[in-house]
């Protein structure tokens, strides 16, 4: 059963074969502190890319710059040929509120801390997101919410508030909420880090189904098993730059850089 | 406008004398209320005797729940019926000390509860005695946590000294009221008096806010 909406999106006419998401020489500094120093990355449609690397290496900032939760310092992000970062005279400027909303509705994001709306039930979270972001009608939004909750195995908890759900359950609802907007790509920011180890598999298996259904995904993670089995490619981000990238299996089993090897050994011993 | 300024300046000596007395009332009632509140708060929080704890909680709730003005009247007009006659000044001090002790003890209880249980457990694990634990570990941390609230509270005590007008004690509001009843320029004189109160209170709360940012570990 597919997790994805099967109706073709209107953008399907864009150049076929080209990468869906392109990150081009992206840099980000907070004051004197440089977090990203020229990151280049591309994701093809349906590709799943794992983003690994030490904490503080810029993984989270990279994801947040892609959907413009953070304004990049320089560089460009292109979704299906459309540039997302506004520039004026070569400098990055804050985009208009309207442009921001448009960008973010096309790029889903799943947070480490779930960030479900605390004052709404699981179902209300998903209904509200569709109605507020897309203007979906009430009945349609509710029906889609039910379907999505069913698909992430949370149909029985539709009426529960986030505080009544475990971390794994909250994260599955959050994934459903993100899917409800039919994003072109979903960014996962360490989706299982805040979840008890024994609850992680329920989230990871939802993500695996999503990957198999053809969703384009960029996943920052410490789950090397997930990276190896599910992602097509793995990118090692360290000190604000991509040190190494390649097919997941070969990168994770035979890394070429010492730094990557060190990191993988530390994780394995962790 | 120039009249207003000239009048204000001419009232200032009387008002400042009143302000001085308000500060004095604040100082004396805190001097008595703070230690009383500290002890009350600590004993209530740490005692193992349930009846004592309930009794103290009742006293604290009474001190916090009764309007200070009613307590003041009760002491000033009520106690003489049982042959205890206090001057206006000492009636005010007694009433405020009672109210203050209740509030201070609440602040102190909160601070003691704010100290992580691990601090106490560490002392127990190290075999440090109860008195030493209180003096060297609990009290310094509790004081550090509660200092900003206590400074903030001092500002509230200062404000509440204005109640003393009800028993004709010559503090700031009383001075302003007297000027008003002679000149009938109530609005102007209360604006000047209000400004004097506000300057002291705003300065104290800014100071408390600054302390709060400084005392975080």
């Amino acid at each position: 059963m597919s997790l994805l909406n099967t109706t073709p999106s209107p953008d399907a006419t864009a150049a076929p074969g080209g990468p869906l998401l392109v990150v081009d020489s992206l840099t980000k500094s907070f004051g004197d502190h440089t977090v990203l120093r020229g990151v280049d990355l591309h994701l093809d449609k349906g590709e799943v890319v794992a983003l690994i690397g030490p904490s503080g290496g810029g993984k989270s900032t990279l994801l947040r710059c892609i959907n413009q939760l953070e304004l990049p310092t320089s560089g460009q992000v292109t979704l299906d040929g459309t540039p997302l970062v506004s520039t004026r005279g070569g400098a990055v400027v804050a985009p208009s509120a309207k442009a921001l909303l448009r960008v973010r509705r096309q790029i889903g994001m799943v947070f480490q801390s779930f960030n479900l709306f605390a004052n709404m039930t699981a179902e209300q979270n998903i209904v509200f997101a569709q109605r507020a972001a897309l203007g979906t009608g009430k009945d349609e939004a509710r029906e889609r919410a039910r379907t999505l909750l069913e698909r992430v195995g949370m149909g029985h908890k539709a009426g529960s508030h986030p505080s009544q759900l475990s971390g794994g359950q909250q994260q599955r609802v959050a994934i459903a909420r993100s899917l409800a907007l039919d994003p072109r790509v979903i960014l996962f920011d360490e989706p299982t880090s805040a979840i008890d180890p024994e609850m992680r598999s329920e989230v990871l298996s939802v993500m695996r189904e999503l990957a198999e259904a053809g969703m384009t995904m960029l996943v920052s993670t410490h789950e090397m098993g997930f990276a190896k089995q599910v992602s097509d490619r793995t990118v090692f981000l360290c000190d604000g730059g991509i040190l190494e990238e390649g097919p997941s299996r070969s990168l994770l089993e035979q890394p070429t850089h010492d730094r990557t090897r060190q990191f993988l050994r530390a994780i394995a011993e962790g | 406008m120039s009249d207003f300024l000239a009048d204000s300046v001419s009232w200032l000596p009387d008002l400042l004398r009143g302000l001085g007395h308000s500060l004095w009332l604040t100082f004396v009632s805190l001097l008595l209320g703070l230690p009383l509140g500290l002890v009350l708060g600590y004993v209530t929080e740490r005692t193992t005797s349930r009846p004592l704890r309930w009794l103290l909680v009742a006293v604290i709730e009474l001190a916090r729940g009764l309007p200070a003005l009613v307590v003041l009247y009760l002491i000033y007009y009520g106690l003489p019926s049982v042959e205890v006659v206090l001057s206006a000044f000492w009636s005010i001090i007694a009433a405020f000390t009672f109210s203050n002790a209740g509030y201070v003890s609440e602040i102190v209880r909160g601070a003691i509860r704010g100290i992580p249980a691990g601090q106490l457990e560490a002392c127990q694990a190290l075999g440090i005695g109860r008195a030493r634990t209180f003096a060297s570990v609990i009290a310094p941390q509790a004081l550090r946590i509660s200092t900003p609230s206590l400074v903030g509270y001092a500002a509230i005590v200062f404000q509440s000294t204005s109640l003393a007008v009800a028993v004709a004690e010559p503090e700031l509001l009383n001075a302003a009221y007297n000027i008003g009843s002679i000149t009938f320029q109530y609005l102007q004189v209360f604006i000047v008096a209000g400004a004097l109160y506000a300057v002291v209170v705003i300065a104290a709360s800014r100071f408390a806010g600054w302390l709060a940012t400084r005392t975080q570990y």
Partner: protein, 207 residues
């Protein structure tokens, strides 16, 4: 003392408390909106308002408005003063309630591309309201005591009636103990109502 005067006095105390609490809670919304406005002068005005209103003792405000402005009845002056004072305190409570809403909630709204106004209205404000509710309740309970100050400008509420009885009969204990008990009872009733309301508001979701 003449106990038959007490019900009317108690009702007056309750009226002042409730009316000024309602004024304060509503006006506090305006003050906090100004405080968080994008227009700097509005923010300054809101800061000045909260500082000055809270910096001057309520009794001074009462005298200033009743004797100084001189156009209000004692009851009117009391309700206005306590309402305005409450607006400053409520605004501060609302402000910390808004600050208490987790940053992740804003991020989720942004990430989903939900328009700012909709997000504030449907997600931020409801959560801030529940966070603020207990503080508002305890502030309103504290207001019961403050209303005793209205006796000084001649509002015939509990303290005023007790004071007059004490002066007439020479018995300074019975009247003040009696009204003291009534104040405690009134606070208790408000606390119970407030707790029930708060429990209802956060039923289900508050952590």
């Amino acid at each position: 003392m003449d106990f038959s005067l007490l019900p009317a006095a108690l009702w007056l105390t309750a009226q002042i408390t409730i009316l000024s609490a309602l004024i304060g809670m509503a006006a506090g919304v305006l003050v906090v909106l100004a405080r968080r406005s994008r227009v700097a002068p509005l923010r300054w005005l809101a800061i000045a308002w909260t500082d000055v209103v809270r910096g001057v003792p309520p009794l001074v405000w009462l005298m200033l408005v009743f004797l100084g402005v001189g156009v209000f009845t004692p009851l009117g002056a009391a309700v206005i003063v306590f309402g305005l004072v409450a607006s400053a305190y409520c605004a501060e409570i609302y402000r910390s309630g808004l600050e208490g809403v987790a940053k992740g909630q804003y991020e989720a709204l942004d990430a989903l591309g939900i328009p700012t106004r909709t997000g504030r209205l449907r997600v931020v404000v409801p959560q801030a309201a529940v966070i603020s509710a207990p503080a508002v309740v305890s502030y309103v309970i504290g207001m019961v005591k403050d209303t005793s100050l209205a006796s000084v400008i001649g509002v015939a509420e509990l303290t005023f009636v007790a004071n007059r009885a004490a002066n007439r009969t020479g018995d300074g204990i019975t009247p003040f103990v009696t009204v003291g008990v009534l104040y405690l009872l009134l606070s208790l009733v408000l606390a119970l109502v407030g707790r029930a309301a708060a429990a209802r508001a956060e039923s289900g979701w508050a952590a």
